[in-house]
Symmetry: C2
DNA sequence: TTGTTAGATGAGAATGATTATAATCCAAGA
DNA sequence: TCTTGGATTATAATCATTCTCATCTAACAA
């Protein structure tokens, strides 16, 4: 069984990226636990092990990892960046009011109907979906 | 048949809002044509008729109209605001690369399955969905 | 019609997340 | 070990949006 370090070195090598210490700790911070993480929270976490790291480096590498498919961007057009390490296809539930995001399982999309209504040439190879509603807390407030 | 002005005055009155000239022209700019509009584009449009109007007023009133259900926010957690006058329930297709948004018709969501997988208390009374893919232009570039 | 006032507007400053810049640094192949 | 192109850091810059507050006006009452 490979060490976590060796696993990352191999991933980086496949993507043609230098396996720097900073990239290592950023990647591991996201992948260590399931969940959705902001650049700031990753920065705070990573800083404990590598105090000299810069916030710009965190941003740059999160974008890079997402571009290479090592991480997933929680919402591809959200106002603030969130990343997750879970690469299994799954959808998200978003609260319209507080913008909280959570995973939602289940096969509730009819892909055949969906692609029938999509315009010509629109690539829905692996459609990801965001469902908007009101989370429990916000619908209680009302 | 009511004039457009009278229609707006009545809507404003129902919401308890003063029917100012600025609100009138902002509302009409969005509702006049189907489509998705940014605050800047509405500002540019509205300025032609009302040169003294302020961008802040446009933002403030778009948010207000959305809060009162007179307009719809295209994507409730997008990085930049877009509004539309079409209040008929419909979903959106978003390009992951260029973030372009277009309407998509069709009943491709299985609401029963969806609510079965949603957490307790999550309000999905009228779930709106955003589907991510690659628009034709972006998937051609690849 | 006029007076009163709560709410609305306008101009510009402030905010906050993200990206750009440029000097320094280091991973990786020779 | 040496070389070099890519990586990192600190900070400035950006940009959409919101805030502030002085001024103004729509709406109701007299």
């Amino acid at each position: 069984m490979q060490s976590s370090h060796e696993q990352f070195r191999e991933l980086a090598w496949k993507c043609g990226l230098a396996a720097t210490h900073q990239r290592q700790v950023i990647y591991e911070a996201v992948v260590a636990m399931p969940g959705h993480y902001s650049p700031e929270s990753i920065f705070a976490e990573v800083r404990r092990r590598t105090p000299s790291i810069s916030l710009a480096t965190v941003y740059k590498n999160l974008r890079l990892f997402v571009a290479h498919g090592l991480l997933r961007e929680v919402s591809p057009h959200a106002s603030t960046l969130l990343v997750e390490g879970n690469l299994e296809p799954h959808h998200h539930l978003v609260c319209t009011r507080c913008k909280a995001v959570q995973d939602i399982e289940g096969d509730f999309i009819n892909y055949k109907k969906l692609s029938r209504h999509a315009p010509r040439g629109f690539d829905l190879t692996q459609p990801l979906v965001e469902v908007f509603g009101l989370c429990r807390r916000c619908s209680a407030k009302k």
